[in-house]
């Protein structure tokens, strides 16, 4: 089996957020830390679980991003992926999902993958677009929000459960090759192992300059990032923690909620 997992580097979720003066991106600070998009960690883990049960499985991981995005490739290799591909885009421009999907599918097209995994969405942009777009460009079937998968014994199809509203699951049999977007809870992503991390350190990745790639499809255009207008109707409790807990008690009492 040949698997491709799409992984994105994102700012840690607790990062300080400030809109850059150009209005099109977020500022980075000395304190800014990056991590692998959590949904993509589940996707990498799921690929490794497949590799552990199916002989001769090879896992490629691919990322589109600036130079420092290669850290997520190393992390994925530390977890157990085999090779990394880095589409280097240092432009700092807004990169719509269609562009990322076009680049990744152009790379994947003639490489005989059986399965492409992505996260259900990226934590920073929250598009939930890239996976289904890759599938459509390649003409492959796709299931999003996958919470369980099970390869058939002849390796020609995969049984999946996709999560729907309320947490119910729809079960499908999908023929390979296909694209699955992974929902958290499907597994518990492992920590990279020391030996694999050391090996990953020496590894060279396949690199492709984004500037050499075509982008021919129509794209949505980012006008600017803005802070949400505060519409809060609620009250913010003031004072010491003890004051706040007294006030909360008063409020709950007066509302008859105790």
């Amino acid at each position: 089996m040949k698997l491709l997992v799409c992984i994105k580097q994102v700012m840690e979720s607790a990062s300080q957020l400030k809109i850059h003066s150009d209005g099109k991106r977020l500022c980075t600070f000395e304190s800014t830390r990056y991590e692998m998009n959590p949904y993509d960690e589940s996707a990498v883990e799921e690929a490794i679980l497949i590799k552990e049960t199916v002989d001769n499985t090879h896992i490629d991981v691919i990322t589109v991003g600036p130079s420092h995005a290669e850290d997520v490739l190393r992390r994925a290799l530390g977890m157990g992926a085999d090779d990394g591909i880095h589409i280097i885009d240092n432009s700092n421009d807004f990169c719509p999902p269609i562009r990322i999907a076009s680049w990744i599918s152009a790379f994947a097209k003639d490489r005989a993958y059986d399965l492409i995994l992505t996260g259900i969405m990226s934590n920073d942009e929250m598009n939930a677009q890239t996976g289904p777009m890759i599938a459509r460009i390649l003409g492959w079937p796709c299931a999003t929000a996958v919470i369980k998968e099970d390869l058939s014994s002849d390796r020609k199809s995969i049984a999946i459960q996709r999560e729907i509203e309320g947490g119910a699951r729809d079960v499908f049999d999908i023929s390979l090759p296909c694209v699955l977007t992974i929902q958290t809870g499907i597994n518990t992503p492992r920590y990279p192992s020391l030996s694999k991390v050391l090996r990953a350190k020496k590894k060279t990745f396949t690199t492709i300059e984004a500037s050499q790639l075509e982008t021919l499809r129509p794209e949505a255009v980012l006008d600017r990032l803005v802070l949400p207008q505060k519409t809060a109707q609620g009250i913010v409790l003031e004072g010491s923690a003890l004051d706040k807990s007294q006030t909360l008690l008063d409020i709950l009492e007066s509302k008859g909620l105790l």
């Binding site: 979720s13 957020l17 809109i19 999902p97 269609i98 934590n123 920073d124 942009e125 929250m126 677009q129 289904p132 777009m133 459509r136 079937p141 796709c142 299931a143 929000a145 049984a159 996709r162 999560e163 729907i164 509203e165 309320g166 947490g167 119910a168 699951r169 729809d170 079960v171 499908f172 049999d173 999908i174 023929s175 296909c178 958290t184 809870g185 518990t188 499809r217 129509p218 794209e219 949505a220 255009v221 006008d223 600017r224 990032l225 803005v226 802070l227 949400p228 809060a232 609620g234 009250i235 913010v236 409790l237 923690a241 003890l242 706040k244 807990s245 909360l248 008690l249 709950l252 909620l257």
Partner: protein, 333 residues
């Protein structure tokens, strides 16, 4: 030539889902900014009755096709059928809900129709003849404003609307129905629907609770979930809930998950501890009558909807509050 806005209908074979009425509210707003005729497109096993009801109620045209197996969402059938229908009945704006089905099909549709795609839209506005669409990024702490300046019937903007962003409107016009019943050839083999499995949250005690105290990633450690349970225990008819990550970590059961893919709750009091307020979580508490948020971050989106906001570390505040509570209950001690 009149321009069109197409609403992709969500239904379960028996009823139009509320998400469709949210889409209708949104498109009415959109059509005020950009004059266009609204029509509905629906597929299902037997669409006749629902199509009639939709058209009568809204006075809009409904384009409907009967397809075997289309009463439940099937990625391949839906994308295929909608692509064909939208090629025959083009629209400049194609809107679906940011639901588990809309999310699945809209990106693919945008490619099939050579259009653009914007997901999770919360609002639209017009400036200098251009329509802008805002959507949440970074967990709702920032909004991105996007446009698709070249949107047209031959390169439509395909978008999904964030649930809850618009209040559903279901008009009652009693108009003469305007329906186009059409057939689409839709054979697929690459994806076979098997069955629906029940949610692990089925029968959750959250649905009956009058007070729910929920913990999110802000609890930081598994042991701290005990604080959430202890706080819940102070109240009669209460239950402890959790955000999805807490259930994914195994710190709480999935039957305790509140939100779009967990349980929708409607308690008198909801106390959200260390929960940021992601849209999927908020979808679960829209009917909560009184919301208290305890969070170290005064900018967390949950603070925008809470009735009482407490900016504190929950690991310190909850024990303190419990102590205050006990003291007041037993003033003689």
């Amino acid at each position: 030539m009149t321009e069109h806005i197409a609403i992709l209908v969500e239904h379960d074979g028996k009823k139009i889902k509320p998400a469709t009425w949210e889409l209708f509210a949104f498109t009415e707003h959109l059509a005020k900014l950009h004059p266009a005729a609204i029509h509905f497109i629906m597929i299902g096993e037997a669409t006749r009755n629902l199509a009639q009801q939709l058209s009568t109620q809204t006075q809009c045209q409904v384009i409907a096709a009967d397809i075997k197996g289309a009463d439940t969402y099937h990625g391949q059938i839906y994308t295929d059928a909608f692509t064909r229908l939208l090629s025959r009945y083009p629209a400049t704006y194609i809107v679906a809900s940011h639901s588990t089905s809309g999310m699945d099909m809209i990106p693919a549709l945008s490619i099939a129709l050579n259009g653009t795609c914007i997901t999770g839209v919360e609002n639209t506005d017009k400036e200098d003849q251009t329509l802008y669409f805002t959507r949440a990024v970074s967990g709702g702490k920032i909004l991105a404003r996007l446009c698709a300046p070249l949107a047209s019937a031959s390169a439509p903007l395909c978008l999904t609307l964030s649930p809850g962003a618009f209040k559903p409107i279901a008009p009652d016009k009693n108009a003469a129905p305007d329906i186009i019943h059409t057939a689409v050839e839709c054979r697929q083999t690459a994806m076979i629907y098997k069955e629906r499995l029940a949610s692990p949250s089925l029968g959750s005690n959250l649905t009956k609770a009058e007070v729910i105290v929920s913990g999110g990633r802000g609890i930081q450690e598994e042991e701290n979930y005990a604080l959430i349970e202890a706080l819940a225990d102070l109240f009669p008819r209460s239950a402890a809930g959790a955000s999805r990550p807490i259930c994914d970590y195994g710190w709480a059961e999935y039957s305790q998950q509140v939100g779009a893919t967990g349980t929708i709750v409607s308690p008198k009091l909801y106390i959200a501890c260390g929960i940021s307020g992601a849209t999927q979580h908020l979808e679960g508490i829209r009917d909560a009558r009184f919301i208290v948020a305890i969070n170290t971050d005064s900018n967390a989106p949950i603070m925008q909807i809470a009735d009482v906001c407490i900016v504190e570390d929950l690991t310190e505040f909850i024990p303190l509050f419990m102590e205050t509570f006990q003291k007041r209950k037993r003033p003689a001690d």
